[in-house]
Amino acid sequence: MARIVIADDDADIRELVVFKLRHGGHDVVPVGDGAAAVEACTTEKPDLVILDVMMPGMSGLDAARALRQDSAMDGLPIIMLTARAQESDIEQGFEAGADDYIVKPFSPRELASRVSAVLARTR
């Protein structure tokens, strides 16, 4: 079981991810924007964070950069979950510090597998 922060401004997506990951036995903390994700990572000390890119206020890319600059978050795996599917977007995601990149629309089963794979790699 892992503690996972999911940040997405779309409540449906958030609920979908929360449902799927809780089903898999994880402890999930849902938040609605990038700033709240950074805050949740500081207080909850998660094992993994899932970030949407386009969110109000702080974007997922900015949140990823902020997490990578924080030495207390060293090694925290980040998965981007976003509708931005261009090659340049994916490149930007990895440059910002993402460990994996999932494009919406997504398969919940695939998401769960990627989460398990990233956790297995980084734990």
């Binding site: 609920e15 090659e87 629309p105 398969s107 695939e110």
Partner: protein
């Protein structure tokens, strides 16, 4: 009127006002309480439906079966809510979960319902029906959706454009471009829809572009060029290079931009030629594209236009050189052009911020 009568009337008025105030207060409290209760009931119903929908999409086998049986037994207004939630979930999912939802919807007659809605006299219902037909992705209704591109209401036309994108049938290319010719408000929707069709649409886009370039470009072709660029379709380099010579400056610029996105070195000779085009937007787009292609083959051509008469072209050329690595940067540093100095200064600020 005596004092007694005046006092009596005042007393009645006062009591009447007090009674009215109490009645108003009670009505307000009751209205609020009823509204709260209804909202709570609605929220509980939505949460119940959502739980079953999630079980259906992501549950274990037993949960899926239970959700299917619960959803199958819903009737009337409850089914309408279920249907709405299922359709709202479709654009967010792919894979098994999406297929299961579509299966449930089709089994409950969502296809016939959507067709009926798309033929309604109400524009809102037509939008809903068209959206649902697109989401169900049934090719059998291709012609119906194409006819809705000519709907008198803009919103219905817009939903029809996106629905065709979901169907992914390349036959939609020409009707979509014809619509774009008449309604430039739909330009972004066209690019979205054509892009959503994926790589399978590229041959048809190339065919339509070739036909139109041969016959004098009667259509608004910018979205077609943009989508070929977004798809990174290397087979379209030749036709896009031909588009650079179009009389329409907007289309020629779109072709340059698309060639930059594709990033094929085969496009360099045509882009270098476009740097000498008489239209500034085409020269600027060509300079930007040469930077995006990322080859050093055009360095001398780009440095020549860093100091040209049009600031937008010079700025793009300077930026392109910055993108092309250390050798290009060195050329830029040696240039005396104000635009070279500006590009280097802006780059220094950007680097400092990181």
């Amino acid at each position: 009127m005596g004092d007694d009568a005046f006092l009596r009337v005042s007393w009645f008025l006062l009591v009447g006002f007090a009674v009215l105030s109490v009645l108003c207060f009670i009505t307000l409290v009751l209205t609020r309480a009823t509204k709260d209760r209804l909202e709570k009931r609605r929220a509980v119903r939505a949460a119940t439906i959502r739980g079953h929908v999630f079980d259906l999409v992501m549950g274990e086998d037993a949960e899926v079966a239970s959700a299917q049986s619960w959803l199958g037994a819903t009737r009337g207004s409850r089914w309408n809510h279920v249907e709405q939630q299922l359709f709202a979930m479709l654009p967010k999912l792919k894979g098994d979960g999406r297929a299961v939802i579509i299966g449930v919807l089709l089994a409950r007659g969502a296809e016939q319902h959507a067709v009926g809605l798309s033929r309604s006299r109400s524009a809102v219902r037509r939008c809903r029906g068209t959206y649902r037909l697109g989401m169900l992705g049934l090719g059998a209704h291709f012609e119906l959706i194409v006819r809705l591109l000519a709907d008198r209401k803009f919103l219905v036309r817009r939903v029809a454009v996106r629905a065709l994108g979901n169907l992914g049938d390349p036959r939609a290319v020409r009707p979509l471009l014809v619509l774009g010719q008449h309604d430039n408000r739909l330009a972004r929707d066209l690019v979205f829809a054509l892009g959503r069709m994926g790589g399978g649409v590229a041959p048809e886009l190339r065919r339509v572009l070739a036909e139109e370039i041969d016959s004098g470009e009667h259509l608004h072709l910018d979205p077609a060029a943009a989508v070929l660029g977004l798809l990174g379709d290397t087979d379209s380099v030749e036709i896009l290079a031909a588009g650079l010579r179009s009389e329409n400056p907007s289309f020629a610029g779109a072709c340059a931009e698309a060639l930059g996105r594709i990033g094929s070195p085969e496009a360099i000779p045509a882009l270098v030629e476009a740097l000498l085009d008489f239209r500034p937007n085409v020269r600027a787009a060509a300079a930007h594209a040469l930077g995006a292609v990322g080859s050093s083959a055009a360095l001398s051509n780009l440095i020549d236009v860093v100091d040209e008469e049009e600031p937008q072209v010079s700025r793009q050329a300077a930026q392109a050189l910055l993108d092309l690595g250390p050798a290009a940067r060195e050329l830029l540093e040696r240039s005396e052009s104000a635009y070279a100095v500006e590009a280097l200064a802006l780059d220094k600020i950007r680097v400092g911020r990181r």
